[in-house]
Amino acid sequence: MNTPPLAYADLFVSALIVLGAGFALVGSWGLVRLPSLMERLHGPTKASTLGLGAMLVASVVWFQLGKGVWTTHELLIPMFLFITAPISANMIAKVHLHRLRTGEASEPAGPAGPPPPPPGSADWATHEVPHEGTPGDFAGD
């Protein structure tokens, strides 16, 4: 039985799938095309938030309207990704800055240019010396 509401649901789910897969493709295309790492970090964020978000909403709508069961636990995945994506992006940027400082990586000139230096005589905290008394303090070993 293909009732009109179900047909609309099909169209809606299809549009969300096309949107999400398109965003994932554009994000990976940006990962290949952009010139420097700091710019490349921008591309996959669109894939992880908008792309996967749209696909998972499509999944929720599909299981609700096609089978009559609510499967909201799928929303856990975008929630988890929204929390973890900034952390992994920050870690990757720190690795990049650290290797720039130690001279193991080079920064190709892109349209955005190199990232601005930190203010004053400070430096980005990529390899901080462990504080005294913390488990990472091996100074006395």
């Binding site: 099909d10 789910v13 493709l25 994000g27 990976s28 996959p44 998972l56 952390i87």
Partner: protein, 93 residues
């Protein structure tokens, strides 16, 4: 129940995610830095999660959700531990 529109959209989604994975693999092989390779691996995990979600819609089974959530967690832990190792020379201090 599945109409032609949804089948076409799923085919487009599988194709787009496959091309995206190929692009990520190119960046993973090409580099040029270690950070680029970590970013490429992280993006591959995201795209594979998308593939699993689309396969779940196509197959009509609700069990693919666990695989997708596990992959999201393992991918995040892998990225962070690799970055920590490069930054500190150790993973758990």
């Amino acid at each position: 129940m599945t109409t032609g529109v949804l089948e076409g959209a799923l085919a487009f989604g599988f194709a787009a995610l496959g091309v995206a994975l190929a692009l990520n693999l190119w960046r993973l092989v090409r580099g040029p830095g270690v950070a680029d390779r970590i970013l490429a691996l992280d993006t591959m995990v995201i795209n594979v999660i998308g593939l699993i979600v689309l396969a779940g819609i196509e197959g009509g089974s609700g069990t693919s959700f666990e695989a997708a959530l596990l992959l999201a967690m393992v991918g995040f832990v892998g990225t962070v531990s690799y970055c920590k190792f490069l930054l500190r020379g150790d993973i758990i201090e």
